[in-house]
Amino acid sequence: MSDHSINAEKYWQANLRLILGSLVIWALASYGCAILLRPMLSGIHIGGTDLGFWFAQQGSILVFIALTFFYAWKMNKLDEEFGLQE
């Protein structure tokens, strides 16, 4: 295997790790806090209802925005690190 392809392989692995981590947070916010864990979080009150309701109607959307920007920023940095930018 040439240096280039070892490098490329590392880049791809780093990307996969980043995607996996991000998707865990993605799932925790929406399927977790907003749906499945809602009964567990019902003790935390927020504006006349509970935290799970907030996550379902607003919180998860805010998390999604943060995640896409974080991923774009991190990947663009990774491109440079590995010399793969355009």
Binding site: S30, G47, Q58, I61, I65
Partner: protein, 588 residues
């Protein structure tokens, strides 16, 4: 000036604006027209994507469904935003690197097979036609109200307008027109919401108002709403759902469907760099979120306003008399979307949930059944009238709703017609067809798609947003898995991809048709669409996620039993993974 004239002015004015910008942008640069968005900043591209994406389902229908379902219908909010995370990480950058214009192109090349390409086209057309039915439903509601005609007449008018709009479709490619549409759409959605939020909670931002104190009662808004609806036998607005499996699968269907819909994916093919594809997804989501964070506030406040209109002295007192009903109820009655029947003959409007659990109370109050039916798709459009907002706000929301419905419907019709003329006819059946012949085929297929969608839109298989959700389920079960496996696996081969797509598409369609009628033709459903008939309580709207799992499983199983993809295809996969050396998107 009467309301009718104001509506026409706003709708006409906004359309003049779009055409004006299209003309100006075209005159300014011809290149811009061909390389759509080629030199456009990711922020503007994100705005244009948001306009393309938000349709009658988001604008007209969604808040009405949330208002009726409360917490349970949060699925629409999460589903239609969470998909952008998948798009940004799993598809957009790689498809941009691949550098062609259509989804069937990628599937055809990656799975080195004309069959795979044709199957992808079939999936694309099925999902898009279903999507158009939803748009026609929404546009029909809007037209019937603003022209004050019956809902089917409104639908016919919508069909004619959409057809001409799509035929003039060249302007669709101009990003600046879509930026203008976005601006009209978001202003139209936000202004009434701000007014209503100020009226009810003294809070300027509706998204904050939702969790603030209801000024009149001094209670938190959501608590007040829970109390009011409970008095009338409805489920608490914030109540948790019992069937969590269905809620999870429905949300998942919408999310992966978002990432599988061709007209959204195409937007990321045209940004200048791979890095921009990543940023664009983020910006698109920001602009979508501006509407989606307001929508739940619109939903709860409209529900509360509707209840207080019918029960001005509180839900425990008598409702209003029919003869004294507000004007907006009267105008919506002419469309057939609000219906009143005086069951107990007392001349008042009893509006409640007549379920067995509430029967005792209803009898005690002398009520003999719910007397008012309100179509859920009207809520956003009626919202400013319910809150007694000035006439220009009502005109504004008309313009916004139509911008949302028409731009998306036209975009989808273009996607359908180009799939038929470019991918099927030119790509497979008759490669020597002339440009003129290709254009004729495109127009005919657009015409056929509109006729089908209008016919099915008269008795749609659900409210606008639900029909659109079905389209997402179909895209989720067929297109998304094929795209994802094409990028993340070198092992999945053409046989695997084709059988996977077919298994996903067919299983999902069969499940949907069983409950909603074969090919959506009214009255042909095999089973009643009730939770006890559903497999494990999974509704037809949620089945797309199951279809996607079937697709993945079949594709991997078949691939592992058959040969590896050829060397050059494995290199192609390797190549799309690294941003380096992405040229401009090429046409063919």
């Amino acid at each position: 000036m009467d309301q009718f004239t104001i509506n026409l002015l706003f709708v006409g004015g906004s359309f003049a604006l779009y055409f004006g910008i299209a003309f100006w942008a075209r005159a300014g640069s011809t290149k811009e027209f061909y390389v759509a968005g080629g030199g456009v900043h990711p922020v503007l591209n994100g705005m244009a994507t948001a306009a393309d994406w938000m349709s009658a389902a988001s604008f007209i229908s969604m808040a009405g469904l949330i208002a009726a379902g409360g917490y349970a219908n949060s699925t629409f909010l999460m589903g239609w935003t969470g998909g952008y995370v998948l798009l940004a990480m799993l598809l957009a950058p790689y498809l941009r690197k691949f550098g062609k214009f259509t989804v069937p192109d990628f599937i055809g090349d990656r799975f080195y097979s004309r069959t795979a390409r044709l199957v992808a086209v079939a999936c694309l057309i099925t999902a898009s036609v279903t999507y158009v039915i939803g748009q026609m439903t929404g546009a029909g509601v809007a037209f019937s109200r603003f022209l004050e005609v019956d809902k089917n007449t409104g639908l016919m008018i919508a069909a004619i307008v959409v057809f001409f709009y799509a035929v003039l479709g060249g302007m669709k490619g101009i990003t600046y027109t879509q930026v203008a549409q976005y601006v009209v759409l978001i202003i139209a959605y936000t202004i009434p919401a701000v007014f209503i939020s100020l009226q009810l909670t003294d809070t300027f931002l509706p998204a904050i108002g939702l969790f603030s104190t209801h000024t009149e009662s001094g209670m938190p808004l959501l608590q007040k709403l829970d109390e009011v609806v409970r008095e009338l036998g409805f489920r608490d607005y914030t109540a948790d759902v019992d069937n969590k499996l269905n809620m999870v699968l429905f949300t998942l269907s919408l999310m992966i469907g978002t990432a599988g819909l061709p007209h959204v994916i195409i937007r990321f093919f045209t940004v200048p760099k791979v890095a921009d594809a990543r940023w664009s997804a983020g910006w698109a989501l920001v602009f979508i979120a501006l509407l989606y964070l307001t929508a739940p506030a619109v939903a709860s406040m409209a529900r509360l306003n509707l209840m207080t209109t019918i029960y001005p002295s509180g839900p425990t007192e008598q409702p209003i008399e029919y003869a004294e009903r507000p004007d907006w109820i009267q105008t919506w009655e002419t469309t057939g979307l609000i219906k009143y029947e005086d069951k107990n003959g007392d001349g008042r409007i009893q509006f409640y949930n007549d379920t067995p659990t509430y029967e005792a109370e209803a009898t005690a109050r002398g009520w003999e059944g719910n007397e008012l039916t309100v179509n859920r798709d009207i809520l956003v459009l009626a919202n400013p009238e319910i809150a007694n907002l000035p006439g220009w706000v009502i005109g504004l929301i008309a313009a916004g709703g139509l911008a949302a419905a028409l731009s998306t419907a036209a975009g989808l019709l273009l996607a359908i017609s180009s799939a038929v003329s470019h991918d099927v006819i030119k790509g497979s059946i008759n490669p020597d067809i002339s440009d003129k012949g290709e254009l004729t085929v495109a127009r005919i297929s657009m015409f056929v798609a509109i006729i089908v969608a209008t016919y099915l839109g008269m008795n749609p298989p659900g409210f606008a947003a639900q029909v659109v959700a079905l389209a997402f389920g179909i895209a989720a079960a067929s297109i998304f898995p094929a795209l994802m496996m094409g990028i993340f696996s070198k092992r999945v081969n053409s046989k695997g991809a084709v059988s996977g797509m077919l298994a996903g598409l067919i299983s999902t369609l069969v499940y949907i048709f069983l409950f909603l009628g074969w090919f959506f033709i009214p009255g042909t459903a095999t089973l009643a669409n009730t939770p006890d008939n559903w497999l494990l309580g999974i509704s037809p709207l949620s089945f797309g996620a199951v279809g996607a799992v079937i697709n993945f499983a079949v594709a991997f199983a078949v691939s592992s039993m058959t040969e590896e993809p050829p060397k050059e295809i494995q290199e192609l996969v390797e190549n799309v993974r690294y941003p380096q050396g992405a040229g401009n998107a090429v046409d063919h």
